[in-house]
């Protein structure tokens, strides 16, 4: 069996005047997580819908679990789970009823479907709400139920379209735990996200999509190297200490870089940022700041934002027509 569990070549799809996919190639290795990163409207959802057999591309080839998505969609559907961007649970049904229905549609016997539903509800901390209508669930609970619904059939390949959009940070980390568990159990996960942090936390490889094209396919580390890595961000309680902080942070700066006071538009002044090579920079910076008696109100290690990723990846190449028009 092929090592690639998802393979797509030259996918194109046009909606009216919008070229949603403009020749997308994708490859995901079995048992890994592929993060598809991109801004709104980049074509992430369209790509997922093509791979999940919901949408026929205008051109191109796609294969999931070794099966041609266009020629044998029914066989693909038996091997995938899909959680869309908006929780698509049925609000008038209870948690149990939602999952049992999916089980029945997957040809489980009613008994097995009920057993599987109970198991998943337990696992997703929804057992107490099992017999309540999904209408009464919180946003996080709906997301979990939606994710549970995509796991009913023990899918080989799981597609998650922005699974954590709109979730608070704690719920987001819960969701990450679920994804990791699925992978340890042998599934392969393709997830789209707008957050570099999320792709970095979960993905073995990251594909960056913009304007319907793949502009990078790399490991998270490889991507970070190309983009410029981590930034250490420090805000002293007393703005007068900014020069001291800059001096201390210069010592941990990545080769060829230096600390700088934040002057970006919109940023509150009085903070200092420095590019660092790795997170061990914290181990040096924090004691040094303490020795100098600098009181801090904020200290953090940040990945580059999605904006910065795009800027770095498209730097030097003429950017698309849309941006010129703006």
């Amino acid at each position: 069996m092929s090592d690639l569990v998802v393979r797509a070549e030259g996918l194109r799809k046009r909606f009216g005047k919008t070229q949603a996919l403009d020749g997308v190639d994708l490859a995901m290795r079995r048992g890994t997580v592929l993060g598809v990163l991109g801004p709104n409207g980049a074509g992430k959802t369209t790509a997922v819908r093509v791979l999940a057999t919901l949408l026929r591309p205008d051109e191109g080839y796609a294969e999931v679990a070794g099966i041609d998505v266009l020629k044998q969609p029914a066989r693909v559907r038996r091997r995938i789970g899909l959680t869309g961007q908006y929780a698509s649970v049925d609000e008038d049904l209870t948690g149990t009823q939602n999952l049992v229905l999916i089980g029945q549609l997957l040809d489980l016997t009613t008994r097995d479907a009920k057993k599987r539903a109970a198991e998943l509800l337990e696992w997703f901390d929804l057992a107490e709400a099992a017999n309540r209508r999904a209408k009464t669930y919180s946003g996080g609970m709906r997301r979990r139920l939606d994710l549970a619904a995509s796991l009913v059939g023990h899918p080989e390949v799981i597609f998650l379209d922005e699974p954590t959009t709109g979730l608070d940070p704690a719920k987001r980390e819960d969701m990450w735990g679920v994804v990791r568990t699925q992978v340890t159990q042998g599934a392969s996960v393709l997830l789209t996200t707008q957050y570099l942090e999320e792709a970095d936390a979960l993905a073995d490889e990251i594909v960056v999509i913009d304007h319907g094209r793949v502009i990078a396919h790399d490991s998270p580390d490889g991507l970070k190297r190309r983009v410029g890595g981590l930034t250490l961000h420090v805000r002293p309680a007393d703005p007068a200490r900014v020069p001291d902080v800059m001096r201390i942070l210069d010592a941990v700066a990545a080769p060829g870089t230096a600390a700088s006071a934040d002057t970006a538009a919109g940023a509150r002044p009085g903070a200092v940022s420095v590019p660092v090579a790795e997170d061990t920079a914290l181990d040096h910076a924090v004691p040094a700041l303490r020795r100098a008696g600098v009181e801090l109100v904020d200290l953090g290690l940040h990945l580059p934002s999605l904006d910065e990723v795009f800027h770095a990846l498209t730097e030097g190449t003429p950017h698309s027509k849309e941006s010129e028009l703006v």
Partner: protein, 275 residues
């Protein structure tokens, strides 16, 4: 969260073959999806107004407000004439909600999940239509029950009356595929209602539902003659009150078959296209 013990992924035999073959799977999936629609119906009784209170309002309105004028004061006779016709109109109107619900389901993304499952494309639509039987039965029970309170009497017998109800439900199930198709085409549930009203009101008023056809001008009589509601109403009148049934029943059954042949494929195709 605790860890999950992993049952075998291949749950029963060949993963690519639906249990019991394709036809059995279609029936099973449609039943499961019909059950979903029924649960929703039971949970939202207010969504039954169009098959309970609304037909009764029409019945009251036409019997007591217009009935005296139309039937020269004999409201009782007019009720006997009107009720079978209003039953047909209520069945046609009763199908609108189905198209609206399907439209809302698609907008919410509920159907994306169904479409990502190994289920026949037609199962979600067939299931939803099958569950509508309950609504059409409700129309019949409310109309006949309330009509009886107002003085309506079945003049034939129990068996013909049951046949009238069965035919009514059957017609409702065929006619509602138009609503399903419209529901796949338009963007909002409100638009489904708008389009269906435009279709149904000419059909129900331009028929023998409210007045005798021979009171109409010639050009309108011509329309009434080709209107599928007319033979349906004549058949139901025959089955509940009196009169020949065979000819009109044949025409009605032909219309029902025609509705299915035309609108089921149209609805399925529109559903498949709606991404």
């Amino acid at each position: 969260m605790t860890t999950l013990d992993v049952p075998a992924r291949h749950l029963s035999g060949d993963i690519d073959r639906p249990r019991g073959g394709a036809m059995a799977a279609l029936v099973r999936h449609s039943v499961a999806l019909a059950r979903r629609s029924l649960i929703k119906t039971v949970r939202t009784p207010e969504a039954l107004i169009d098959v309970t209170i609304q037909p009764v309002i029409f019945l009251l309105l036409f019997t007591y407000l217009f009935g005296g004028a139309i039937a020269a004061g004999d409201r009782g006779a007019y009720l006997q004439f009107l009720l079978p016709g209003l039953l047909a109109q209520s069945l046609a109107l009763g199908g609108i909600a189905l198209g609206q619900n399907l439209n809302a389901d698609i907008e919410k993304g509920v159907f994306d999940r169904f479409r990502s499952l190994p289920v026949a494309r037609s199962a979600p639509l067939i299931g939803a239509v099958a569950a509508d039987v309950v609504r059409y039965l409700t129309v019949c029970v409310f109309m006949l029950g309330f009509g009886t309170l107002m003085g309506f009497r079945v003049e034939t017998g129990f068996v013909p009356a049951v046949a009238a109800v069965a035919l009514s439900i059957g017609f409702g199930l065929c006619f509602c595929w138009i609503s399903v198709w419209v529901g796949m085409l338009v963007r909002t549930p409100g638009a489904v209602q708008g389009v269906m009203f435009l279709l149904i009101f000419p059909l129900s008023f331009g028929s023998n539902v409210f007045v005798q056809t021979d009171t109409l001008p010639g050009w309108l009589q011509a329309f009434v003659q080709v209107n599928p509601i007319t033979p349906l109403v004549s058949t139901i009148r025959g089955l509940l009150i009196e009169g020949p049934v065979a000819h009109n029943l044949t025409i009605t059954l032909a219309w029902m078959a025609g509705l299915l042949v035309v609108f089921v494929p149209l609805a399925l195709r529109a559903y498949a296209r709606r991404a």
